[in-house]
């Protein structure tokens, strides 16, 4: 009985000390950490939970000190520390530029990922055919094109600049918060952006349209927070540049307005003039965007959604990678953001950290609701198996970086004041540059310098209208971008074979059948060349056939010309 009474007394004491909000906060944090670390090795999981609990605990303990500070004090400090903020922001931009240039310094002309070839090829088509480009990205590079800059150089310069633009957009978004510490928050988000491995990988995979589109999305969100009438224009441009990015913005704004208007009605208040005007302008801008991008939208609905629905489960396995968005999977993504999860989670459950004092409902609905809406939309799109799932993770990472900034700032300001805290902080934060450095260092180019040289030399080796049949899609964009537009690859670039035909060509035992299939092929137009890259060394039946059959003439280390001579074909040894 005495023990029970003691326990009850302790519970009462804990209840008086810990409000229900505290329990909710720790419960949300704990469940997020457990979900984020699901599936990891137990030792890694334990280390992660310890790291997360330490960071969260430190922020929680020093919460009283940063909550007590008055906004006016912050404003004074902001004015005094303006130079430091500029130095930190410029330093972050320097790191950003360095990490983006390292692949070029190490590997030369084409060190980036899969989409490089498609962009270079499209720009080359502008040069050689003078076709009016319809995509907003190509329209925006026309001034560079007119200047006569070579396509590959033009593309890479523009792609690196896009990273700086995106950093600027993040800065603008954070500077749009009407909080006293906005400059410092903006500088902190630049540091987080420069050290984000997900953003680097997005850059490495050469998603230029998406990166620029995301920049416009952030600028539109910044103008939205400033209650500016320019918001729809920048939202429209985000949509024109990259349809999925525009769709994310549209969904975010829809969720925001739904919650905001319901809250207004519940508190028996009228919808304000600005929101009304925004809704009307949005309703006008949406049909304009759909009209301008009608081809993309119609293709999405008629070809993609009608054939496969919205979820990846219906997509055939050979097209799964393409429809997932051809980027890192959700497991790798989760692994890369593990380090920042405790910080972003703290900001999510503690909106006070933005103002450093209790947040009013007006501030929450005007400034923070938009971020929470974007977070909710992107978490669903990133972790649900929807079409384009992988690409949404890059946008989710950006939103998480925005949530990371305030906690990072508090950590630096309050923990670094003590010597021991400073050491812990340096130790914890040093992990981010090390991890980022390793990611940058391990990112190798997809093709070797000699392969690229050979591709660029293709016009000199082959007849003017010769086509190339790529037997592995891995090489398709490179040949299309750097060798010839007459490139055809399994499943795209105008390919006429079904997946079943390709399987017969790749793995079938009959070389006679392969020869017949190639002879019957009318696209690309003959003379036909076949490309076998350096990674195609596994001696698959078709590789053996191309390398050894007399119907092919080896014109360069990786290129074979199909002469279609009906001489007897050697039989593959395993058959």
């Amino acid at each position: 009985m005495r023990t029970l009474a003691w326990l009850r007394q302790q519970l009462e004491r804990a209840r008086s000390r810990w409000s229900s909000r505290t329990f909710v906060t720790w419960a949300v944090f704990g469940s997020t950490m457990i979900m984020a670390s699901a599936g990891l090795h137990w030792a890694v999981r334990l280390a992660f939970l310890g790291y997360g609990a330490t960071l969260f605990g430190v922020l929680w303990v020093c919460r009283q000190s940063w909550m007590r500070s008055e906004a006016a004090t912050h404003q004074d400090r902001e004015a005094k520390q303006a130079n430091w903020v500029t130095i930190v922001a410029l330093g972050a931009l320097g790191v950003l530029l360095l990490t983006r240039l390292i692949p070029f310094l190490r590997f030369g002309e084409a060190p980036l990922g899969y989409d490089t070839g498609f962009y270079v090829g499209s720009i080359r088509s502008l040069y050689q055919t003078n076709t009016p480009a319809s995509s907003a990205l190509y329209l925006s590079i026309i001034p560079w094109y007119v200047a006569g800059i070579p396509p590959a150089l033009l593309y890479h310069v523009f792609h690196v600049l896009t990273q700086l633009f995106l950093a600027g957009a993040l800065y603008f978004l954070l500077a749009s918060f009407s909080v006293p510490l906005r400059r410092r928050l903006a500088a902190a988000v630049l540091v987080a952006f420069a050290l984000s491995a997900v953003q680097f990988l997005g850059y490495w995979w050469a998603f230029t349209q998406q990166m620029l589109g995301m920049g416009f999305l952030l600028i539109a969100m910044g103008f939205f927070l400033r209650r500016s009438y320019w918001t729809p224009l920048f939202a429209l441009l985000a949509f024109l540049l990259h349809t999925p990015t525009g769709a994310v913005l549209l969904l975010t704004l829809a969720v925001y307005h739904l919650v905001y208007i319901v809250q207004l009605f519940r508190s028996r208040r009228y919808v304000d003039r600005w929101t009304n005007v925004m809704l009307v302008m949005g309703l006008v801008a949406l049909p304009v965007a759909v009209w301008v991008k009608w081809n993309d939208v119609a293709n999405l609905f008629s070809d993609v959604f009608r054939s496969y629905g919205v979820f990846l489960a219906q997509v055939p396995s050979e097209r799964a990678l393409e429809f997932r968005g051809n980027f890192i999977g959700s497991d790798v993504f989760r692994w890369l953001i593990l380090g920042s999860i405790p910080l972003s989670c703290f900001t999510i459950v503690h909106p006070e950290i933005w103002w450093r004092r209790r947040v009013s409902a007006a501030f929450f609905y005007r400034h923070l609701l938009l971020l929470y809406a974007a977070l909710a939309v992107l978490v669903v799109l990133t972790f649900a198996p929807v079409i384009y799932q992988a690409r949404f993770s890059i946008m989710l990472d950006l939103v998480l970086l925005v949530f990371t900034a305030p906690a990072l700032l508090v950590l630096v300001e309050h923990v670094a004041q003590r010597r021991s805290g400073y050491m812990v902080l340096v130790g914890a934060l040093a992990m981010a540059p090390i991890s980022m450095g390793l990611t940058v260092w391990h990112q190798r180019p997809m093709i070797t310098t000699s392969e690229l040289r050979e591709m660029k030399n293709f016009p000199a080796l082959a007849e003017p209208h010769a086509g190339v049949l790529v037997t592995d899609s891995y090489y398709a964009p490179w040949l299309w971008g750097f060798a010839t537009w007459g490139t055809v690859a399994p499943g795209y670039l105008g390919d006429s074979w079904s997946h079943a035909s390709w399987e017969r060509f790749w793995y079938g035992s009959s070389d006679e059948e392969r020869l017949q299939m190639l002879s019957a092929r009318d696209h690309p137009q003959p003379p036909l060349y076949l490309y076998l890259g350096e990674r195609q060394q596994q001696e698959q039946p078709y590789e053996w056939f191309i390398r050894s059959s007399p119907v092919f003439v080896n014109v360069s280390p990786h290129l074979w010309k199909f002469i279609g001579d009906p001489r007897p074909v050697p039989v593959f040894p395993s058959t």
């Binding site: 003078n130 200047a147 800065y171 920049g215």
Partner: protein, 103 residues
């Protein structure tokens, strides 16, 4: 890289910088210099996309089909004019604020 290419690249950069800054000047007076710099490239891209699209849609003018030097001269002139307008407006603003402070 040839001198010709460097000059042309410089003109394009000046065009983007100048037009971007002019747009941020027109977007709102309450933007700080750092916000303007962050916003300028997006404004320049937006203006370029809209102008090229409107020229093509309404008058059938396709910019790359015009002689290169003409386009470069137009871009150079717009860059210089944009910078002039921005500088003049900034000077006027500064004079106004000095006068207000003196009073």
């Amino acid at each position: 890289m040839s001198i010709d290419l460097l000059v042309a690249g410089g003109v394009v950069l000046a065009y983007f910088g100048g037009v971007g800054l002019l747009c941020t000047e027109l977007l709102g007076k309450n933007l700080r210099w750092d916000e303007r710099i962050a916003l300028a490239p997006f404004c320049a891209v937006a203006v370029t996309v809209l102008v090229i699209r409107v020229l093509r849609q309404l008058w059938g003018v396709w910019l790359p089909a015009l002689p290169r030097w003409q386009v470069l001269v137009v871009m150079g002139v717009s860059a210089v004019l944009s910078v002039l307008i921005v500088v003049m407006r900034a000077r006027r603003r500064m004079r106004k604020s000095l006068r207000a402070r003196a009073q």
